[in-house]
């Protein structure tokens, strides 16, 4: 998948409670969750995010709860890919499992700022920062985890294995 989009930039340790606060967890409707995505740290996000925009965080992105509602809310907001220095483990699995590509690029994330425009090829993990001219490469997914991502998520992958 090739993507070109504007950056929503967040810091280190973005937890699942700020991605989607528990007070909205009495539903699992993606569109409803998207309305409240990031609200506790960025009230402008849900109203202004455009389909194809990209979310970029620092280290340990998605730490905290196992709620898959968090990557679901991000995906339903129109974000096709999240980039971070590192991801919390459960969030990372959940992203792959629901077909939301997650690219881990370590300290290179410091070279991406809010409102930069990125061109991303999720199949190769190549990220071009069109604003600054920098190019980065994400760590590749290991073994059959790449097959899960390529199938568009774990449910699709399991169905093909019947």
């Amino acid at each position: 998948m090739k993507i070109e989009g504007k950056v929503w930039r967040y810091g280190d340790n973005i937890d699942t409670d700020v991605i989607i606060p528990a007070r909205y967890l009495n539903t699992f409707d993606p569109a409803e969750l998207a309305k409240h995505c990031m609200v506790d740290i960025d009230e402008t996000f849900a109203a202004n995010v455009k389909a194809g925009d990209v979310m970029v965080g620092g280290k340990n992105f998605g730490c905290g709860s196992s709620r898959e509602h968090a990557p679901v809310a991000i995906k339903a907001s129109g974000i096709p890919v999240v980039i971070a220095a590192s991801f919390a483990r459960i969030f990372y699995r959940n992203g792959i499992n629901i077909g939301l590509p997650l690219l881990e690029i370590g300290d290179d994330v410091e070279k991406i700022s809010a409102d930069d425009v990125l061109r991303i090829d999720t199949s190769t993990g190549t990220i071009e920062n069109l604003t600054t001219g920098d190019t980065f490469h994400a760590h590749p997914l290991p073994g059959f985890v790449q097959e899960i991502a390529s199938a568009g998520g774990l449910i699709n992958y399991i169905k093909t294995k019947k």
């Binding site: 196992s66 459960i90 985890v145």
Partner: protein, 419 residues
């Protein structure tokens, strides 16, 4: 090949002689667990797969987060799970009045046992490491696939050796151990890794201490927090687990990616300041921090021993006039035992609220939500921004010793300040 406890459990469940850190394996699961927040979306994903449940005896569905239902939508979630549990004859589904907090009741009922491999759609599933199981939190989709196939994929984690030494001082409990550890290594200090506890200090820790410690392994980013199977663990499971089980021990020359030493005798009562569990400071270094609320309960510290600690401090004393103190037993059994011990009398006489078992306030669900600018000392596990209510409220994580003492003084206090 020498293996850690985590490696041995994963190897056994992958049908392999041995595994090593970094290896991808597909494992058979002994238990698949979800709650009323994560269960209903998992059921929806499960139905897309179009297979029956893999084994109704190996599934636990626990309505504890927003139950007894806090609103209509939460009642709808409970109903989805209840209907699914009945239709599929799920062995470990418990209704209100018989249920408690998932990570309190599953060890208490003997559903989790040493050597088991468990996934749960709840990040604190790592709690069962205390009974020598490898258990870890997953999301909705992993859980759905677990329900259908009884399998999950794992990347075998590197292990951090947490070596415990020394004697545990008075008024210190498992919460101080795990907060001190997270303060040392940070909220991503064990990212993608398992914590494995070793050393003679393990014997100093009660099973309640260990359940608290394993519970918060995730707060250091860890996949699991596994304790060895010793005399205390053996006595704990002997009374509860009714089926055969196979504990694991780490090989003496098992490979660890790093070692962290904690000398229990040097521990002081600590709190984690807002808004990360790694912001750990000794209580006696804080100065005066006034508080509005105290919560004693949760999957971290809602066990009988925790309530006993609180009762010991609150006995004959009163909650500060500016403080609301909410006490939540983790299970019906614990609630009943606390009644028998007359601890509930002590709590009510002191001016506390006593609730039925629920996760409630820990995740900002209900039963103690904070207003803007309010501060809470809580025995729960997370102090993220907005976790317990308004985005401008604050949560200070602490042991039941510190929480109960603070309820009396109206400020964050050591137990020594009131005893």
């Amino acid at each position: 090949m020498a293996m850690t406890m985590s490696e041995k459990i994963l190897a056994r469940h992958a049908g392999l002689e041995s595994v090593e850190a970094g290896q991808l394996v597909i494992c058979d699961l002994d238990l698949v667990m979800a709650n009323d927040v994560t269960g209903p979306p998992s059921i929806k994903e499960f139905e897309k797969i179009g297979r029956p449940v893999f084994d109704a005896e190996k599934i636990a569905l626990i309505p504890d987060h927003f139950q007894p239902a806090k609103d209509i939508k939460s009642a709808d979630l409970a109903k989805i799970m209840r209907d699914f549990a009945r239709k599929n004859k799920i062995a470990h589904y418990y209704e209100q009045g018989r249920v408690g907090i998932e990570h309190v009741i599953l060890p208490e009922f003997g559903v989790v046992a040493p050597g088991m491999l468990i996934i749960g759609a709840d990040s604190h599933t790592c709690t069962y490491g205390a009974v020598n199981a490898f258990s870890t939190g997953v999301g909705t989709t992993d859980l759905a696939v677990g329900l259908a196939t009884g399998k999950a994929w794992f990347k075998v984690p590197e292990a951090v050796n947490v070596r415990l030494t020394g004697k545990k001082p008075k008024n210190i409990c498992g919460k101080d151990v795990i907060l001190t550890l997270i303060g040392k290594i940070g909220v991503d200090g064990a990212l993608y890794k398992s914590l494995e506890f070793t050393g003679e200090g393990v014997a100093e820790l009660s099973m309640t201490d260990r359940l608290t410690i394993s519970n918060m392994a995730i707060e250091a980013g860890a996949k699991a927090g596994v304790f060895p199977f010793d005399k205390a663990a053996e006595m704990y499971v002997a009374r509860r687990v009714k089926k055969p089980f196979q504990p694991v021990a780490a090989d003496e020359d098992a490979k660890y990616c790093s070692t962290v030493e904690i000398n229990l005798s040097e521990l002081k009562p600590v709190v984690a300041l807002p808004h990360l569990p790694e912001n750990v400071k000794p209580v006696d270094s804080l100065g005066e921090i006034k508080i509005n609320q105290v919560v004693i309960g949760s999957c971290t510290n809602g066990r009988l021993e925790d309530l006993g600690i609180a009762a010991g401090i609150l006995r004959g004393r009163k909650v500060h006039p500016d403080v609301r103190c909410i006490i939540i037993p983790g299970s019906q059994e614990i609630y009943k035992e606390a009644v028998h011990c007359h601890w509930i009398d002590i709590f009510i006489d002191a001016g506390c609220v006593v609730s039925c078992p629920t996760c409630g306030p820990c995740l900002g669900g209900y039963m103690g939500i904070l207003s803007a600018g309010e501060r809470c000392v809580s025995t729960t596990n997370r102090n993220f921004r907005g976790r317990m209510g308004h985005v401008d409220s604050e949560v200070y994580l602490a042991s039941p010793f510190v929480a109960a003492a603070s309820a009396i003084t109206g400020k964050i206090s050591t137990p020594e300040e009131v005893l």
